[in-house]
């Protein structure tokens, strides 16, 4: 039963010391990702979603808490992780422009993981493998193998990033806002590439984004974060039909949509108000209380715990605490 969960995060905290104070980027979150599924991680700025991804992949050490991958404790930064782990966990970053070394050619960028993990012996083998990877992300190898990032478009850069991430056939990939910087039609193409790859490789993913419409189409489960805390976790369909947390409702009602059917889906009567709080001095108790239309006395004093309201559906809100 435990083998079902490829990633388990327990009480993870990540704080950053800055001259302005301690930034509580991730403040005690726990979640589990089932093998072969895509967990969507949604939040606005300051939510801690990107930081979570960075800590899981090892770019930052956790301040406290544990991360389990395939039941092994990996709560250490990259330098301390075994090399095989870096074959198995990969990441696609948000900014296409800075994700690729401007001075290298595509063949070397995508080929680096193959070289590092000694998966190819000769130059011909390298080019063969890279060509296959490029084809998988729909970039014709003849055109792209020897180009530099500066000559290709944003969508194509992200496709290269994806090819690089899957080069070593990892079991787990973290996608950190991979299409936020891309045009609408390019985003569609890249998302479809990702979906195809996930199907073919039976990939488990953590998909970080702020775009709820995208989330609907790509994830099997959704986690909502606000100011370093988890607000709600639910399977995707349940989440969109029955959003429980007031923040979730506010998010959904703010999403701009194109069709009448989508309009119907948005929660009515809850408007977006207030500014997102500061992660250095977060509001007391429930961090969302200054903006919450249902805030009660207890919300200012006590942080709500994450409870399972129905199977697989978790909420951290005092409105549901009694039940």
């Amino acid at each position: 039963m435990e083998n079902e969960y490829i990633l388990k995060i327990q009480n993870l905290k990540k704080y950053f010391e800055t001259p302005y104070g301690t930034v509580r980027a991730v403040d005690d979150i726990s979640l589990k990702v089932r093998k072969g599924t895509t967990m969507g991680l949604v939040g606005e700025s300051g939510s801690g979603k990107s930081t979570t991804g960075h800590v899981v992949v090892g770019l930052f050490p956790p301040t406290s808490g544990k991360i389990f991958f395939k039941n092994k404790d990996i709560s250490v930064p990259l330098e301390k992780r075994p090399k095989e782990l870096k074959r198995d966990i990969q990441m696609v970053f948000q900014d296409p422009a800075s994700s690729l070394n401007p001075k290298k050619i595509i063949r070397d960028i995508v080929g680096l993981p193959l070289k590092v993990h000694k998966m190819v012996q000769t130059k011909e083998e390298l080019e063969e493998k890279v060509a296959k990877l490029l084809e998988m992300v729909e970039l014709p190898p003849e055109d792209f193998m020897y180009r530099r990032p500066v000559d290709i478009g944003g969508g194509e850069k992200q496709a290269v990033s994806i090819a690089r991430a899957i080069a070593t056939n990892p079991s787990f990939v973290i996608f950190d806002e991979p299409t936020s910087a891309l045009d609408v039609s390019i985003q569609a193409k890249i998302i479809n590439s990702i979906l195809n790859i996930q199907r073919e490789f039976k990939l488990t993913s953590l998909f970080i984004t702020h775009d709820l419409s995208l989330m609907r189409n790509i994830s099997s489960e959704v986690t909502i974060m606000y100011l370093g805390k988890v607000c709600e976790i639910a399977p995707t369909d349940v989440f969109f039909q029955k959003p429980l947390h007031p923040y979730t409702q506010m998010l959904l009602s703010s999403v701009p949509v194109l069709t009448k059917e989508e309009e119907e889906l948005k929660p009515k009567g809850i408007k977006s108000i207030g500014e997102i709080g500061s992660p250095i001095h977060p509001p007391s108790g429930c961090r969302f209380h200054p903006r919450c239309p249902y805030a009660k006395e207890i919300c200012k004093k006590k942080e709500p715990r994450l409870i399972e309201v129905e199977p697989g559906h978790f909420v951290a809100c005092h409105l549901y605490a009694e039940k």
Binding site: L78, K83, Q90, M91, F93, N101, K104
Partner: protein, 291 residues
């Protein structure tokens, strides 16, 4: 892909055409290029270009000493009767040689130290390297070079060593700054996540992005190293007579000012010519890589 195609593809990746376009947009850069090339040509082909190559070494002809500029001697002659023009042309050779030797020693060492210091800036090794380089930078260049030279026997070689000793920290500092900022770029993170070694990241990921700045600095430094070398020779700590070093020539001729002005003036102008040329070229190279 055939070897020829790979080579031609690699050539294309250098983006020479774009860099050349950016370079030639400024007429001053082109002037700089011409001047720099001319100094290099003069330096290399000195024995064939100079009208009186033998005057560059030990030569005396007191009958024709201190002659003003004329058609036989375009730059006049000095106190020993040597042709100033020929000696100036040979002077280019020694100056550029000094720049070449110093930079060949200083650039690799400074760059490697800078990469390491920047990459490990939070660790003790990074801080140690930067503090050492700070010490060298804090001392004014001429003072440092003078102290070193006076401890050792004055010679061209020792002058080069002295200049090298105080020049390396600038490259370390440059690379430290560049490395510090680049190492936070996502492509470096990506390389780390992939499992690449620190050595790979420093030399194959970060350094190629510093090439433009390093090349620009090298070009600009040619002028300044030569000036520093000439300053040392001016006070007698560099190349010794009869070597036709530009700085020595200015110094030797100084005592004849203002009567026999040509003995100092032309070598001094030559120094300015070199510095001007490489400065303009350096600006052009900066444009080429940035533009």
């Amino acid at each position: 892909m055939s070897r020829a195609t790979i080579l031609s593809e690699w050539w294309k990746t250098l983006e020479i055409k774009k860099k050349w376009y950016n370079f030639r947009r400024s007429p001053l850069s082109l002037i700089g290029l011409i001047i720099s090339l001319s100094t290099v040509i003069l330096a290399i082909f000195a024995p064939w270009i100079a009208p009186y190559p033998e005057h560059a070494g030990f030569y005396t002809d007191f009958e024709h000493a201190n002659l003003p500029p004329s058609w036989q001697h375009l730059f006049g002659t000095d106190e020993f009767g040597r042709d100033v023009l020929s000696r100036t042309i040979f002077g280019f050779r020694y100056s550029l040689m000094m720049a070449a030797v110093v930079l060949t020693l200083v650039v690799p060492a400074g760059v490697i130290l800078g990469l390491i210091a920047g990459y490990y800036r939070e660790r003790w090794i990074g801080k140690l390297i930067m503090r050492i380089s700070d010490i060298f930078i804090a001392v004014p260049p001429l003072v440092l070079a003078l102290s070193v030279c006076s401890l050792l026997t004055p010679s061209a070689f020792n002058a080069m060593m002295a200049v090298s000793l105080m020049w390396w920290p600038w490259y370390t500092r440059l690379l430290y700054n560049i490395t510090s900022s680049i190492k936070e770029e996502y492509f470096v993170y990506a390389a780390k996540v992939t499992g690449a070694s620190s050595a790979h990241i420093m030399f194959k990921e970060i350094f190629p992005n510093a090439m433009g700045a390093v090349l620009t600095k090298i070009t600009l430094d040619v002028g300044w190293v030569i000036l520093l070398g000439a300053s040392l020779s001016f006070v007698g700590l560099g190349a010794q007579p009869p070597t036709p070093d530009l700085g020595t020539m200015v110094s030797d001729g100084a005592k004849f000012l203002p009567d026999y002005w040509w003995i100092s003036m032309f070598p001094a102008l030559a120094i300015s010519y070199i510095i001007l040329g490489f400065n303009l070229l350096g600006d052009g190279i900066k444009d080429a890589f940035e533009g």
